[in-house]
């Protein structure tokens, strides 16, 4: 995987955006009601491949295929998906981020140069 061949992003805080509060409350209630046995939460769409679709608050949708996975594996997957925020799992360019990187003013070629001409003063009128 090369750095220019794969997407990358900058560090972001987890922004809450979108509708999903009720969905999260229902999901938590479902998880509380689920036993570690063979209870399956079936979505109304009939997919050919069994999938878990996780929609996050920032709009990202993550699909995990669960064919031929045992129940503890699926529950581990579910806990992993619940603990994730929706940010993309791609290369983060810097592990830090600031909105105000420079306090004293960013360097430019004239910061450390003394001015050649002195302060501008009104011209002396010597005729009168």
């Amino acid at each position: 995987m090369t750095s220019r061949g794969t997407p990358s992003r900058f560090l972001q805080s987890v922004l809450q955006n979108g509708v999903g509060r009720e969905f999260i409350e229902e999901g938590v209630v479902d998880y509380a009601k689920k036993n570690p046995a063979t209870v399956v939460y079936v979505s109304p769409q009939s997919c050919r491949i069994p999938k878990i679709v996780a929609e996050y608050l920032n709009g990202n949708v993550r699909e995990e295929i669960i064919t031929s996975k045992t129940a503890p594996q699926i529950s581990d997957l579910l806990t992993k998906l619940t603990n994730q925020s929706g940010l993309d799992v791609i290369r983060i360019r810097k592990p830090f981020h600031t909105d105000n990187p420079s306090i004293q003013g960013q360097w430019h070629p004239f910061t450390n140069r003394p001015p050649c001409i002195g302060p501008i003063r009104p011209q002396k009128q010597e005729a009168e």
């Binding site: 995987m1 090369t2 750095s3 220019r4 061949g5 420079s102 306090i103 004293q104 360097w107």
Partner: protein, 149 residues
């Protein structure tokens, strides 16, 4: 009479060739020329690209360090010093800032960097006085070593 031998010659090959080829080609889509379209050329180009990527992980650290050093050297020369003098005197005053942080200070906080350069110059003058002055004068303020208890 039915011809049966012809039907025995038909083979059913693997059904997944398209996806296996796409797995390789997706890493070659931003290449130039036929390497981004033709599988045989793309396989070699993608392998080389991955090899370069693994080798470059060590080189990136080296390149970033040389970049920081050149930026710090340029910033110190603006203040009338040289890079080796600055780093040596900063370590002698036990300022344990690495090159990355000093480079960021030189770019975004020019006055803090100026204060660091002045500190290093003062320690340098004290070192010269201690070396040339034959020990009769007391050591300077910045030469004192702080012992943490």
């Amino acid at each position: 009479m039915v011809f049966l031998t012809l039907s025995c010659w038909i083979r059913s090959r693997g059904p997944d060739r398209y996806w296996k080829v796409q797995e390789v080609l997706k890493h070659a889509r931003h290449f130039r020329g036929r390497k981004n379209r033709c599988y045989s050329l793309a396989v070699r180009a993608v392998r080389r690209a991955f090899v370069y990527a693994t080798k470059a992980r060590k080189l990136k650290k080296r390149n970033m360090r040389t970049l920081w050093i050149s930026r710090i050297a340029a910033a110190t020369r603006e203040h009338g010093m040289k890079y080796p003098a600055l780093m040596h005197n900063l370590t002698k005053t036990s300022v344990q800032l690495n090159r990355r942080v000093i480079c960021d200070l030189a770019v975004t906080e020019p006055r803090s960097f100026l204060s660091l350069a002045k500190l290093a110059r003062a320690r340098q003058q004290e070192g010269f006085r201690a070396a040339l002055g034959d020990g009769k004068e007391p050591a300077g303020v910045f030469s004192r070593v702080v012992l943490l208890q």
